[in-house]
Symmetry: C2
Subunit: 452 residues, 2 copies
């Protein structure tokens, strides 16, 4: 028998609690501020768009929060997700490094997103919500929330960034299979959408715009709440199930990561894998390098500013302190639609500010080239977002080769690219280009930040 | 903890041998005949297009055939595949039946096809083949062989049935990711293709035509062999790994199937799950009903004739005794492209002739409706081919409900539909229709059978 490739946890090892990094951060997170008054915002003001259990989680500093049994019961359809040792990739690269990846593509919709979607749908269902609105970029979050809503009998309405909607008819079909309604954003259904279309009828949309539309509709109806697929504390909390499982699986493999790599758009898959390891380190445990990889076309962590900003273009959401390129920043229509967000999770931003992680940006041509190397070796075609994690992990593996180091690399293979093959078609057809920003372009984008 | 949903085997339980049904059949299979002379064909004559180890397996009556270690080493990337208890589907149907499904969609290309592709690529590689040609209908087989060839450094050329090629650009992109060359069939690259195009320049193609093109090119070059994704004995042999794993997993679940259901096009996923159970029964073990489900639009088992026929339209392949609608039969362009084959595996045909299984056909509207019920409950969107197995399993579950029987149903969820969402889009858009054949249409198709 050759050496083991997969480390599988049985269902009864599914974590019973999420891990909350807020309990271990050396200094507290900055509070969200009211978009009108600039004053710290309380639970009551958030209740217009979120159910109370979600708001409590958003503000909690408890270290462990129990995963409700009905949520675990659905997560068990695909979780615990597998951890792989990428032996064939190691061989293809000729690296002395050991490469492991946690594979979240085994979920119903092919990424980590259902981990939070199921929890959010559950808390909404027990709080009396009948209908959830949301936005989606790549379509991963929208289809995940559609699946989750179908489990609890909730209506689901998804504002899908227009350029993704047009690139990915299969994603919309997947959402419809789960009974969701999908609308390309900006749309004429909301004030926010109409205002954008009046200015630019050909707008390709952005996550910021789609969030504005979804929040507007949620705020207008009592039976409707809004759900966000990344950025916020409770979403990252739900995703920590990834890292909690990975810690157990790496133990099964008899290995400890020296470096952990993930892609960052809003920060949820990265935080999900990294935070349980970071918490361990903050409580005096083993040190580990944490690397966040973002697209050069949307360099939030590497070129943005750590400042209070709106989460959406219409300035409806609370102001949160995060790395941002400004809420009016519209990144180019790259295929990694899930990473086209002007901001970053406040928790991830804080971790970077505290010097607890590293951030780098990668061009998309390198990402797809790395992804194809990975696919040929391991058989899995990564989602365009996930190619950034693959590129980052391969960079680390090649560094180990150069330095002759046998380090252990762990990365988050956050999703497969089955619904995103147009990106590969365009890559093969030489239709993808790299993006660079001048300092003045970045300065211009940041000049619109609110002065709080 | 709620009741278990998944039954996972560890890697070291991966079967070491395939199971060969030929060893246990009560009467031997009829031999293949030479397409020119009509005389039984020998290994030497097959060696123009197949490597010798494959030919030996094709003719073997040994009960157990060892799986080579390099093949197991690649299969371990995703195998053993999971067995699920469909508790949420049972609840949605309100059936007292227990429903289990073996899920083959976890493979690199999303179906059971790599089980044989890896084995065939391996035997070709050790036999000195440099290049493999093949056909693909839905694209499942073509992408699987492309993946397998990439593992052994072989060139791969795929003739893809034109209507699938046009419906599924993402499938072709997947093959290209694994470095294969994809050509829509009928093409102008071969004599067979040119002859078809001369008669009908708008031909949508068929598996029979694509096989003719692939075989023609393999026969012309010494360094090139041909690989078939279904129908032949060795392909079904490689697929028995599915049933061998399922037997162990059903034991883990403490259950024994009363009925096993699968879809049939060429017969490989059905035979793969069913044959190990059938062998057990033929050797005096437990009885179990075996149900083959095929499309009403291509009713090979239910309306075809058990007779010698060609495998391709150009009459290049040996004559094999099987259920067939005639090699000139071109089924309508249904989305279940992998089931659009005029014939059926000789082994599956023989099993039906011996009264050891049942066959039924299902209309595509029922298939997609069943698939959506399944997807909402279990989270997995089945491939169009696989919807036939789902429909058959749901028919059995509803029969159990009507009869108040607590039977155990096992079916093969042979693949996911991520690359086939156009089928669902057309279903939602009311663009799919059912098909019925009159007796005279079937008689007409069968009238072209060779007189051997």
């Amino acid at each position: 028998m050759s050496k083991q490739l997969k480390y599988l946890l049985p269902e009864d090892k599914l974590p019973t609690h999420w891990y909350n990094l807020a309990a271990d951060l050396p200094s507290p997170l900055d509070p969200p501020l009211h978009p009108g008054t600039g004053a710290p915002i309380g639970p009551d003001e958030l209740s217009a768009i979120f159910p109370m259990p979600i708001i409590e989680q958003e503000m909690s500093t408890e270290r462990e929060i129990e995963i409700p049994e009905p949520v675990r019961d659905i997560l068990r359809l695909w979780r615990p997700s597998p951890l792989f040792r990428a032996r064939r990739l190691e061989k293809a690269l000729g690296t002395p490094a050991k490469i492991f990846y946690k594979y979240e593509g085994v979920s119903p919709t092919g990424s980590h997103k259902p981990n939070s979607a199921v929890a959010q749908a559950y808390y909404n269902a027990i709080s009396g919500t009948k209908r959830i609105t949301t936005e989606t970029g790549a379509g991963q979050w929208g289809s995940s929330l559609a699946f989750a809503c179908a489990q609890f009998g909730l209506e689901c309405k998804v504002f899908m960034v227009r350029c993704s909607f047009e690139q990915k008819p299969y994603r919309a079909a997947l959402m419809e299979t789960f009974d969701a309604t999908v609308v390309p954003s900006p749309s004429s259904e909301t004030e926010a959408g109409r205002a954008i279309l009046a200015e630019d009828p050909d707008s390709t949309g952005s996550l910021g715009m789609a969030i504005a539309e979804a929040v507007e509709q949620a705020a207008q109806r009592d039976d409707t709440c809004y759900a966000l697929g990344s950025v916020l504390n409770h979403v990252l909390l739900h995703q920590t199930i990834i890292g909690l499982e990975a810690i157990e699986q790496m133990e099964m493999a008899g290995a400890e990561p020296d470096v952990i790599v993930g892609c960052t758009g809003g920060g949820s898959n990265w935080g999900g894998l990294v935070f349980p390891y970071l918490g361990r380190k903050l409580r005096g445990g083993r040190d580990v390098r944490l690397v966040a990889v973002e697209p050069a076309a949307c360099p939030t962590l590497t070129k943005g500013k750590f400042a209070y900003d709106y989460g959406d273009t219409a300035k409806l959401t609370p102001l949160v302190k995060m790395h941002t390129l400004g809420s009016r920043f519209v990144p180019p229509g790259i295929h990694a639609g899930g990473l086209r967000y002007h901001g970053m999770a406040p928790m991830v931003s804080k971790v970077l500010e505290l010097g607890l992680c590293e951030a780098r940006n990668v061009q998309q041509l390198e990402c797809f080239s790395s992804a194809i190397t990975f696919a040929k070796a391991e058989g899995i075609v990564p989602a365009p977002e996930t190619t950034h994690a693959v590129a980052g992990a391969i960079q680390e593996a090649l560094r180990c080769k150069e330095e002759g180091k046998e380090e252990t690399i762990l990365f988050n293979l956050s999703g497969h690219g089955h619904f995103d093959m147009q990106a590969y078609i365009n890559y093969f057809g030489d239709k993808l280009v790299d993006y660079d920003y001048t300092e003045s372009e970045i300065a211009m984008a940041l000049s619109g930040l609110p002065s709080v």
